[in-house]
Subunit: 427 residues, 2 copies
């Protein structure tokens, strides 16, 4: 990928609220806010540096609690202008934290088990959180086109957000994607471009486009807007703690695709501690992968610091990133917090989807099957303490991965009379 | 249908909050709260009579505003116990009221256009609202099985709610339903029984079951629990007004299936006026149907008070009730408020789904295409005033009716290079 290291639209008057600068995660080098994602010194990933110094803890808490029932209640902690809630955006977040007592009984958890159910977002995946952030950055930088490469959830989130905000959208996908996924992305009416090639070819082409004049005015949500985009995942940490009554959970089980979500959830928890919004105490973060794409889990178990890329082969397509950019950071967080990284087979994923639906009425996409399945496995192998408060993430919706549970069907077929009903043993 | 007129489980100690009795909509005859739905005097439909006499307007408003971000914030106005929010339920509601400025421009609305987007509910349709009420009634009456006949949204809502609350569920569907719909209903793990026959046969069988000992302990959400179930639609009226800053909209466009939703929205608005929570002013309610199932629209246009049944033939399957029980009440409300009832063709439904997705990033099911399409038509024929505040309901999710927009697809296919990108005119 061609690395763009110099901001093309840097502007010191950009208003992104408390965001003060971009800072390199590796070397700490700071640059002004702009549509850049890699450090000019060391090529490390840039992330947002904030100025939270003016905040009074109790005033901030009050402001948040009086805010809207979406991620903008946390505007003071995000790279967005203070009046963000008045701008056209899809306003995701404040999704249900379900107290999962039936699932807890099934898994033997006694310390309190919760499912953070992000299928309640506007396009029914956590991607709405990150795209909503990227959209605000795109607006601040004067971009007029919102773009991404995708094979699923991201395409819908970008299409919907661009439509709402009056941006042009142009989403790139492999040309031979399943028809259902094409429809879900195409319905928002933006450009939906099929690339003759596989997903790697699509990504390579997008990087080429960013460096070309043809890509001027284009915000690629997960490339040149990535530092802003990624911050959206912090809102999961904020919401979980606020919904627990401003408390840290003891344990979190988070899916790993690129690893960005897990690292930003940790960042969000650390911010809440530093701001005094929650009491400091130890928490453990567990990463969850599918066996068919488990580069981070494999590295974790081998005790490696480096993640060796894999060729994905799993039904959990929304997690199927074989070379996860934030893999090393995930390893670091899992080890530092006393968590772990674990993986489950596709069969276990399907079983876990059914367990969650049967016990809690939540129909998760395959990624939710991964986290529930991994939670079960972590309890069985003694790595997750069932007597502690545990939060499991469901990041997407079962309606988008119906094929995974296609074997589910009628429990009985009867004739329309009571005799037939009784014969079937249903009375 | 065998009409069950006497409560089998009437119990004066049942705690359903402000619900005081059941009252016949036709003759006013009152009976104690119980699992009955038809008047023993005149066979008219029973509905909930409340005792709101103890409420102070401003205290009530404060209590609501401090409540949870779901329908239970309105517990003081619903047939549920005061502590309902602490019980296991799917907790729907408080869905987004989207200020639809792009759609307004497209349709020429200048007075403020809003979409109440109920695709944000747990199983992504408004049915979660009514099923959540029915579940509380089932709990109060000591039922242990939640049941319904369905061909779609209701099956999922019942399956999910029963799972969450630890009820057995048993859902009856025609045995030859499309596989996708079967999966969506089956995943929650309850009994899913295929009936050899059409939807009428399924309904007939359910009525038979209610009158039989085999159906003892069974709550059919939309039959013997119907008076409670139907009240869930009032929450749409409450939320719309609160989200508008405790104001009545000037105009509402509501889909018509059985007509129950529209009549209960009117009931909810009237309650808010009587309680002083909104200022009294005229509002108009418009009903929306698909041409292929337009018994109420046909009666409205012909000036009839009676609705003649039709055999449905439309892609808007969730509205395809050919003999709508509340049809006459809908006619009365449309005429009394100065609204109207209109219908659109399946082609217009599909167009409207695309318009809503393109302008607002909301992917509606076919029922949402009906309301948006009817809104467009009502403006064109001068029946809906574009200078007034208008709220349009989207009651379901496009992911459940993907077939309707299956023609949507790629806007271009290119090779993975910039030359091909430029040739396609995408730069």
């Amino acid at each position: 990928m061609a690395v763009q290291t110099v901001a093309s639209t840097t502007d010191s008057t950009v208003d992104l609220g408390p965001a003060a600068a971009l800072s390199c995660r590796e070397c700490g080098h700071r640059v002004p806010l702009g549509p850049v994602f890699a450090c000019e010194e060391c090529f490390g990933p840039l992330e947002i540096a904030y100025d939270f110094s003016a905040y009074d803890t109790e005033e901030l808490r009050k402001q948040i609690e009086a805010g809207p029932a979406n991620i903008w209640r946390y505007a003071p902690l995000l790279p967005v202008p203070a009046d963000v809630a008045t701008k056209p955006n899809i306003n995701p977040g404040w999704t249900q934290l379900v107290k999962a007592d039936n699932l807890a009984r099934e898994l033997g958890v006694t310390g309190g088990l919760y499912v953070k159910d992000d299928s309640g977002n506007p396009t029914h995946s956590f991607k709405d959180r990150v795209v909503a952030q990227a959209l605000e950055a795109a607006r601040a930088f004067g971009f007029t086109t919102l773009s991404c490469s995708s094979t699923g959830n991201l395409a819908g989130a970008v299409g919907a957000a661009a439509a709402r905000a009056g941006f042009r959208s142009c989403v790139f996908i492999p040309h031979d994607l399943e028809q259902g996924k094409v429809v879900m992305a195409a319905v928002y009416g933006g450009e939906l471009v099929g690339i003759e090639g596989n997903y790697d070819d699509v990504n390579r082409f997008c990087s080429e486009l960013i460096g070309d004049p043809a890509g001027e005015g284009w915000g690629f949500v997960n490339v040149n807007l990535r530092p802003y985009y990624a911050e959206g995942s912090k809102t999961l940490a904020y919401e979980i703690c606020e919904q627990l009554g401003w408390q840290l959970p003891d344990q979190l089980v988070v899916p790993i695709a690129s690893g960005s979500q897990l690292t930003k959830i940790d960042k969000g928890l650390q911010e809440l501690i530093k701001l005094g919004l929650v009491e400091d105490k130890p928490y453990k973060i567990f990463g969850a992968q599918a066996e068919g794409c488990s580069p981070v889990s494999t590295a974790y178990k081998a005790g490696h610091d480096v993640v060796r890329p894999q060729k994905p082969n799993t039904i959990a397509k929304s997690l199927a990133i074989g070379n996860p950019a934030d893999g090393p950071y995930v390893l670091d967080i899992a080890r530092r917090t006393g968590g772990a990284v674990e993986d489950v087979t596709d069969e276990q994923v399907v079983d876990a989807i059914k367990i969650l639906a049967r016990t809690e009425g939540i129909f998760a996409e395959t990624a939710g099957g991964v986290t529930v399945g991994v939670t079960k496995k972590l309890i069985e192998n003694g790595l997750l303490d069932p007597t502690k408060t545990t939060v499991v993430l469901n990041t997407g919706d079962g309606l988008k991965t119906l094929d995974a549970v296609a074997g589910t069907g009628l429990t009985a077929t009867i004739r329309p009379n009571l005799d037939s009903f009784r014969e079937a043993g249903l009375a």
